[in-house]
Amino acid sequence: MTEILYREAIQQALREEMLRDDTVFLIGEDLRDPWGGTYKATAGLSPDFEDKRVLNTPIAEDTIIGAALGAALSGTRPVAELMYIDFVMRAMDAVVNQVAKVRYMSGGQSDVPLVIRTQGGGGRSSAAQHGNSLEAWLCHVPGLLIAMPSTPADAKGLLKTAIRLNDPVIFIEHKLLYATKGEVPDDEYTIPFGVADIKREGTDVTIVAASRALLFSLEAAEELAREGISAEVIDPRTLVPLDEETIFESVDKTNRLVVVAEGAERCGWTAEIAARVQEARFYSLDAPIQRVAALNVPLPFQPDMERYVLPSVKDIVAAAKRTLDA
């Protein structure tokens, strides 16, 4: 095992897969060195590969994704980047009406080996148009697979899997995770989609979260532990498909559930988890499922206000306690 940055994990996965398969190429805005991507996730790749393997594009998100789709349908395996998940709003037609549906609409005539990497999340005071968490929108779209890794090891293993799959994957990184560190296996490995990881075992309450919210949840679990409360923290790693069994089993044990996500609460991802668990495990639950999400307002610029709007460790702790007080 070697400790590397989340950013390096992405770079390694891309590099390894590009070396393994020369139909894999990167396409997006400002991917090439010396810029190397806005969060440097593609840094170091353009100098080491043929020019065509790392393609800088015009600012034209709909056409970047549409073109990547056309390429995926005709013999190559593009890994496209949307610099911010917020910019998916310029590419929504390509992502949803085209990428997600082409296999189905054609009656299964073609594989769609396409990965769309992007990054989301707040906490950088980047205001209402650059800090959103939009995974709920994309989970609502049949035909997409969604990964949202929280650690370098998960990021690398899931991205390698994503590139090898023949289905379109939305791969959501987090702007404040790129500089986080974690142990990564030295040997070649991949991580399957649809398998959750219990990041911390516990018995009193289950906390489900992905991406940066998972780190917050682990901190919250620490804090709860200091008060004698044992929280189990589950990282689904992929939102579609979702490993619901792991969540259900945990709830059967703890009888309490808190779901955490950075996106706005209304019609967000936490709603889906709450809805499913209350249905499947109605009789296991000893307390109402608690959702911890962003308030239903746009993200404000000012850092304190932003922190207030986004879910925090404190909010998770409070939610867990609510389930225990119930």
């Binding site: 139909t23 190429f25 065509k52 594009t57 015009p58 034209a60 709909d62 056409t63 970047i64 994704i65 549409g66 073109a67 990547a68 789709l69 056309g70 390429a71 995926a72 349908l73 005709s74 013999g75 190559t76 593009p78 037609d93 390509a94 009406n97 085209q98 082409v102 296999r103 189905y104 609409m105 054609s106 009656g107 299964g108 005539q109 073609s110 594989d111 769609v112 049949p142 035909g143 697979l145 799959l165 023949n166 289905d167 989609f193 649809g194 579609v240 498909p241 979702l242 490993d243």
Partner: protein
């Protein structure tokens, strides 16, 4: 029109136009009879554009089309059996009855799909052209779009990328003078579309879209240019749809004289008379027509006899990976 090959090609084009005309006329009637579901856009009147352009393609080439895609895709070789079965919603339709009229596709023939979203084929066309260069395959992508698609954002984005990357793509604007009910002058601020297209650094040509030979020759020049590394081209093909926007639309907004004038320039009649002038005999042309009529009748018959999809077929073809597919679908309570 001297050489044997040319004559043979033109006869083939004539046959293809006849096939499309008959197919769409039948589809229209069947739709009006309530036999075909959904909604449907008929391209009768535009056959010469579809056929002239597609006949300039070779094996391995790609095609993207529009919501009005029957003619384009049949011109490219989509079998009328699978097209008809698709419109009828039968299990062995081109897309297993999942796509329908607006989504007919045949990836084996490089047909990356009709498309229900105006302008959405253009980025996809850029992509298959990109693969072609990437894989050094010398294939060309033909990208059909309507006049109305002109004003959508992706048109600009795609045309810019096409020249930027010198992609082997031919943009053919099927200008039938209207986007739904709106005439070109009421939505297009651009005074001269050829100048606009040329400003992207690509050759732009206007062609009589009802003259199949002219379309063929113009698009062929563009295809050859693309194939030999010369990059993208733009073709404005002027034509007309005889019917309303979709079946059900009476097309009331269009002046009756205009419709009449365009019907008088029927691309099939034009092609027929060129062939006759060129020495083809009436009998062989009628034979083509009746052969195609027969094939169509058989396709309809086959379609009618064909099985409907099972309800649960609706659950397949969402993903390729079956394990992930099952997990993503979740419990089905129906």
């Amino acid at each position: 029109m001297a050489s044997e090959t040319d004559r043979k090609d033109l006869l083939e084009m004539f046959r293809s136009m006849v096939r499309i005309r008959l197919f769409e006329q039948a589809a229209y009637d069947m739709y009006m009879d309530g036999e075909l579901p959904g909604f449907m856009h008929i391209s009768i009147g535009q056959e010469a554009t579809s056929v002239g352009a597609c006949s300039a393609l070779g094996e391995g080439d790609y095609l993207t089309s529009t919501h009005r895609g029957h003619g384009d895709t049949i011109a490219r070789g989509l079998s009328i059996e699978s097209a008809m079965a698709e419109l009828m919603g039968k299990a062995d339709g081109a897309c297993k009855a999942k796509g329908g009229s607006m989504h007919v596709a045949d990836f084996g023939l490089g047909i990356l799909g009709a498309n229900g979203i105006v302008g959405a084929g253009m980025p996809i066309a850029i992509g298959s052209a990109l693969s072609s260069n990437y894989l050094d395959r010398k294939t060309v992508t033909l990208c059909f779009f309507g006049d109305g698609a002109m004003t959508t954002g992706p048109t600009h984005e795609a045309m810019n990328m096409a020249t930027l990357w010198n992609l082997p793509v031919v943009f053919v604007r099927q200008n039938n003078l209207y986007a739904e009910s709106t005439p070109v002058r009421e939505y297009q601020g651009i005074p001269d579309i050829l100048k606009w297209a040329e400003s992207y650094g690509m050759p732009a040509t206007r062609v009589d879209g009802n003259d199949v030979q002219a379309v063929h020759d113009t698009v062929l020049t563009a295809v050859e240019r693309a194939r030999s590394g010369g990059g993208p081209s733009f073709v404005e093909s002027e034509t007309y749809r005889w019917f309303g926007h979709n079946i059900g639309d009476p097309g009331k907004g269009r002046p009756p004289e205009e419709v009449t004038a365009w019907k008088a320039r029927d691309p099939l009649v034009i092609c027929r008379s060129v062939l006759l002038d060129d020495g083809a005999d009436e009998a062989s042309l009628s034979a083509i027509e009746s052969e195609e009529q027969e094939k169509l009748a058989k396709a309809i018959e086959l379609g009618r006899a064909a099985a409907l999809p099972k309800l649960e077929d609706a659950l397949t073809d969402v993903y390729g990976d079956q394990t992930l597919a099952a997990a993503a679908l979740g419990e089905v309570r129906r």
